[in-house]
Symmetry: C2
Subunit: 153 residues, 2 copies
DNA sequence: CTGCACCTTCCCATCATGGGAGGGTCAAGC
DNA sequence: GCTTGACCCTCCCATGATGGGAAGGTGCAG
C-alpha cells in the first residue's frame, strides 16, 4: 500500500513515516516503479509500534532500542522492563517538576484579586528581590541538569 | 556590569541573555566603548523576572505579555491572573497526559516478569494488533491537537 | 609583552513535527 | 487522448529554548 494508507493504518503521519525512514528508525520501504513507497502489513505493524511507543512518551532513541528488542527472539524481558521503568521514572520526575510549578502558581494566584486594580502578587512574586514563592521553588528546577519536559510536543 | 555578572545575578545564562535581547524580549543592553554589553540593576531585575517566569514554565511569548503588564502601571490584576490560570490549566493538561502514560506503562510493566525470558507484555502491548492498554490510552493523546509536553526541556 | 579571563558575532545542533514549494504519477471522467 | 484531482516524490525551512563552539577583540595582572 501507499504511504497515505500506511499512515492511516499506523496512526503516524506520512511526513513522520518518511522521517523515521530517513533517520534509520525503520528500514526503507520498498519502492514501486513510480518510485512511490510501498508498505507491507509488517511495515505497518512496525510503524504502529513506533506510534504507540511515541504515544507513551518514549523518545525515538528508546524506541530504536525497543524495536530491536521486539525483533530479538532471545531478548530478556528484563531489558524491556528496565527501559519502561526508566521512562516511568523520567515522566514522574517531569510531572513532579510541573506540579511544583502549578503549586507555586496557585500560591501566587490565590492572593491575586483578579479585578481591575493593578496590585498583583503574581507580578510581585516574579519581580521581587527577596525570596518569594517563585524564587523558593524555582531553584529546585534550576539545580537540575537543565532539562524538564518530555517528548511529544 | 558585564553580561557574565548579570548572568550570575539573574540566574539566566549569558547565552540566553543575548538571545532574549536578539528576540526583543528585553531591550538591548547598553554598550561600553569596548562593545561589551553593560547591565544596570534594573536590567538585571528584568532578567531575573524572565528567569523566574521560565522556571514556572511560562513560554517566552507569555513572558513578553507579563513583562508588559509588569511595567504597565494601569494594568488590571485580572489580566495577570488570567495568564497565570491559563498556564496552570495548560500545565495540568500536560500533567494529565503524562499521568495517563505512566498509568499505561505501569499496567504493562506490572505484567512483565523482568527476568531472562523473552515473554513481555510491554512489547506485546506496543506490537499488539488488537486494542491493548497502549492502544486504548493512546487515542486520548492522539485526539488532542498534537501537542503535549511543556516548555523548558 | 604575555597570559588569561572575559567579551563579541555567527553558525550549528538538539527533538519531533509540520508546512510548503516544485514537480512526477496515476486513475477516472470527458 | 486530454484534463482533473488525488496522490506521491524530494528538499528546504520553522518551531522553542537552550547549549556548543569557532574566530577574533578587550582588558587587566604579572
Amino acid at each position: 500500500m501507499q504511504i497515505g494508507q500506511a499512515a492511516k493504518a499506523s496512526g503516524a503521519s506520512a511526513k513522520m513515516i518518511r522521517h523515521y525512514e530517513a533517520m534509520g528508525l525503520v528500514a526503507p520501504a520498498g519502492r514501486r516503479d513510480s518510485n512511490y513507497r510501498d508498505y507491507t502489513a509488517e511495515d505497518v505493524a512496525r510503524l504502529r509500534f513506533v506510534r504507540r511507543a511515541r504515544d507513551l512518551g518514549f523518545a525515538i532513541e528508546r524506541i530504536r532500542d525497543l524495536l530491536a528488542l521486539w525483533s530479538d527472539r532471545g531478548r530478556s524481558s528484563a531489558e524491556v522492563k528496565r527501559i519502561a521503568l526508566d521512562h516511568i521514572a523520567d515522566l514522574e520526575g517531569r510531572i513532579a517538576g510541573m506540579r511544583e510549578m502549578v503549586a507555586t502558581l496557585h500560591h501566587l494566584a490565590d492572593g491575586c484579586a483578579g479585578d481591575g486594580r493593578p496590585d498583583c502578587p503574581i507580578i510581585e512574586g516574579l519581580a521581587g528581590k527577596n525570596a518569594t514563592a517563585a524564587a523558593r521553588t524555582a531553584p529546585t528546577a534550576r539545580d537540575n541538569p537543565r532539562r524538564a519536559e518530555p517528548p511529544r510536543p
